[in-house]
Amino acid sequence: MLNRTADSVARATPEPLARKVRGISDKGLAWLFISPTILLLLAINIFPLFWAIYLSFTNYRANRPNEVVKNVGLANYKRILGDQDIWIAMQTTAHFVFWTILLQTLIGFTLAWLIDRKFRGHAFWTTIILVPMMLSPAVVGNFWRFLYEPQIGLFAYAISFVSGIPPTDIQMLSNVSLAPWSIIIVDTWMWTPYVMLICLAGLRSIPEYIYEAAEVDRASNWRQFWSITLPMALPFIMLAVLFRGIENFKMFDMVNLLTGGGPGSTTEVASITLKRQAFESWRTGYSSAFAIILFVAVFGLANIYVKALNKVKQR
């Protein structure tokens, strides 16, 4: 019945059209299907990238549409690379990336290792651990701001309870030394579950027979961990580090919500500086150059890292 219908439709198709359809190869058909996506990608990703590269060589300011746009060559790049504030922002960013990744990897892997033991109720605890990751960063930023409040915040009271320091003296967001850590704590709290999930996938991918063979060879648990678990889970750990590294290099929402870059410029990461230059000072050409520098830095570092990751996988 279906065949008959298809036949009748095919017969009813006008010859010129049928000839055209018959002429499309599989490759052509594939291109036909993916072309809308490619066009969209070109329009919203590739074109803005090239446009930003062009703007980075100009003195363009988006808030002065009537001004003549001048080509300034490499002046924006030179200025950025010689700007001490930019370097301080880059250092602050590096500080965040280092500590958040270190803590998230250590805690995330430990949690994954524990969850992988499959103790009673492990599914329930997995769900509970994943909750922070499911929340919106805006919600997380706001409620941690309240938790950190020195007068009414639970965090200050909890620390006070343990340390004996008056809660009003625990000013996480106002104190120059504590403010960076306040953001590291929140980011670690929120994204450790993500690292845990990837590590858990790695641990679950290790075949059971390898451990059984190790048992036969009477390898200790410690030896099994160092010789089997860690090396085999390493590509997954490295993948988690890559994802979190790229994300945290661009960290904006949490910093903006918790400290706005303050106190002073203590927590002003590169993305905050970029936003201020682009949308507060309206130095569009300058900020485009900064964005390109950041892009190249992340892209370059990620490439080197991916090569290292591939080497680890090939071992």
Partner: protein, 443 residues
């Protein structure tokens, strides 16, 4: 059949007519853009009269202060048609005028006999003129505002506190008239137990993200002798911005922040200040006058419990206050400029301005504020008048945003983060501002 056809045709015509009519009404609707705050609600109420009189509907686009500049400057820069009328911040006037965002109102004012002499002079310079002090008008002064102070009159009048204060400082506890006095009072109240609760000296502006700490620090610096540039040589800032007097002023602001603000008040602006005062945390509170009607009505801290005072004098007796407030402008990209101008004409009317004040807006019309009954019309009216007489404003240059960003960073780095000295901060500010003006080709 014929009658059914007639009925159908009639109904169809009626529907078409009503749709057309509603389309006409929508076409005439004006959209007014402003910040989301108490005066905006008063303006919604006030504008109902305009709709009644003119038949022109009013729509409003209000954005919270934290996003106000970002949102509307983006709108103007992209030549958007969202706003027909905009109540833009005083510092936007230079950029908005030079970039063609606002309609120049000189011809309209001449035609409609609206004289800028009828408005408080400081508001005309601050909200309407560009270049400053020239008869080029881009806005009608709409909402007068200035930084002033509120204090807890009920705490100040406690006999035991008055006695203790007099013994300690040798003068009567009352609203301060100098910054030295203000600091003494703030120190006196800091961490004091009142009615079983720990209270603090003062809430001041320390916000980093938008303009908070600049508004607060400048409010103090002006009275200490800070000047933006050489009065005889525009844009020459060395020795003016970073003069010894300015350094002392900034040191004072930091000392006030360190000694006498509530814990964690490192990112505090208008909203946080109001919260601190309303919740009974602070004895004194720096804020724009627009917050006063709301505080006056507050059950816990308003009524007889609240008092107001003008920004105090500096060490040499100079007394200035930071100007706030805005003018109302017609957006040059609007298709409804004629209707928008009708609104401005209506808004400039004396009776409308009087009602504006009664609803909680701060009129800038001389006929309202110089009315003999004005000072007693509200408990804060006299303080508002006195404050408006001593205002100074931040740069209103087209590059004001870059200038503001530099001061936000320099002030916050020093006052809140404690990095470097006041001299370093102000020297750095001269460097930053010079660079901005050089980029603009003004130096």
């Amino acid at each position: 059949m014929k009658s059914t056809l007639k009925l159908t045709l009639g109904l169809a015509s009626a529907m078409l007519a009503s749709t057309a009519a509603s389309n006409v009404a929508h076409a005439e609707d004006l959209t007014l853009c402003w910040a989301a705050w108490d005066p905006a609600n008063a303006l919604v109420e006030l504008s109902k009269d305009f709709t009644k009189e003119s038949g022109i509907g009013m729509k409003f686009e209000f954005v919270p202060w934290t996003n106000y500049a970002d949102r509307f400057l983006n709108e103007l820069n992209s030549k958007g048609k969202l706003c027909d009328l905009i109540i833009g911040d005083s510092q936007w006037i230079g950029g908005a005028a030079e970039n063609g965002h606002y309609v120049k109102l000189n011809d309209f004012f001449d035609k409609e006999k609206i004289s800028m002499d009828d408005f408080v002079p400081a508001t005309v310079v601050g909200y309407s003129q560009w270049p400053k002090n020239t008869p080029n008008y881009w806005a009608l002064p709409a909402m007068g505002d200035v930084v002033g102070w509120t204090y807890r009159k009920d705490w100040f009048s406690k006999p035991e506190l008055q006695k203790e204060f007099k013994e300690k400082y040798g003068w009567d506890l009352a609203a301060p008239t100098t910054f030295d006095q203000l600091k003494q009072i703030a120190e006196f109240f800091q961490k004091r137990e009142i009615d079983g609760k720990t209270v603090y000296g003062a809430s001041i502006y320390t916000e980093r993200g938008s303009e908070g700490i600049t508004m607060g620090a400048m409010d103090v610096l002006y009275s200490f002798g800070f000047k933006y540039d050489n009065p005889d040589k525009p844009y020459e800032m060395e020795g003016f911005v970073n003069s010894d007097k300015s350094v002392k002023g900034l040191e004072f602001y930091k000392a006030l922040y360190d000694c006498c603000t509530p814990p964690g008040a490192s990112n505090s602006y208008m909203g946080e200040g109001v919260d601190a005062f309303k919740s009974g945390q602070v004895a004194m509170h720096m804020n724009f006058a627009f917050t006063w009607p709301g505080l006056q009505k507050d059950e816990n801290v308003g009524g007889d419990k609240i008092g107001y005072f003008v920004n105090p004098k500096g060490p040499d007796g100079d007394q200035f206050a930071q100007l706030g407030g805005q003018g109302i402008s017609v957006v040059s990209y609007s298709d409804k400029q004629e209707a928008a101008l009708k609104y401005i004409k209506w808004f400039a009317n004396k009776d409308v301005q009087a009602k504006w004040w009664s609803l909680g807006g701060f009129s800038c019309l001389n006929a309202v504020v110089k009315d003999p009954g004005f000072p007693s019309s509200q408990p804060y009216a006299q303080t508002f008048l006195d404050s408006m007489a001593i205002v100074k404003d931040f740069w209103a240059e087209p590059s004001y945003a870059s200038l503001l960003q530099a001061s936000q960073k320099r002030f916050h780095d020093y006052v809140v983060a404690g990095q470097g000295s006041a001299k370093d901060a102000l020297d750095g500010l001269v460097k930053d501002w010079t660079s901005v003006f050089q980029d603009d080709g003004k130096m």
